[in-house]
Symmetry: C2
Subunit: 73 residues, 2 copies
Amino acid sequence: MAGFKYDIKEHIGNISESPKGWTKELNLISWNNREPKYDLRDWAPEHEKMGKGVTFTKEELKELRDILNEIDL
Amino acid sequence: MAGFKYDIKEHIGNISESPKGWTKELNLISWNNREPKYDLRDWAPEHEKMGKGVTFTKEELKELRDILNEIDL
């Protein structure tokens, strides 16, 4: 994971944990010292590795919340 | 994007659209003919390219919804 820096500003919540200890998490992360963004991805135990993820602005996360509240889960 | 097949079973919602026309979407997608999973990712116009994404089971999506409803957005 060379070439970029990240700083987990806030751990917001854990969505699930796999049998191998990877966790799917929502965090607020600053990438390369930029303004923090909301970030959904899988993490290895102790955060030593990360999976692919998606970042969100606050507006996008609100829209996602509204969509999730509208559908039948 | 060779090597795997995907089939968008249900387009659930658009979260945002970039100036270049990429959309951040929540879909229900079957990968390689497996059972469909919920999928959050960016897509190019007409879905001809996809960005990195995160997949969710229904239980994970419920948990994410609950987290989003608890935080102050």
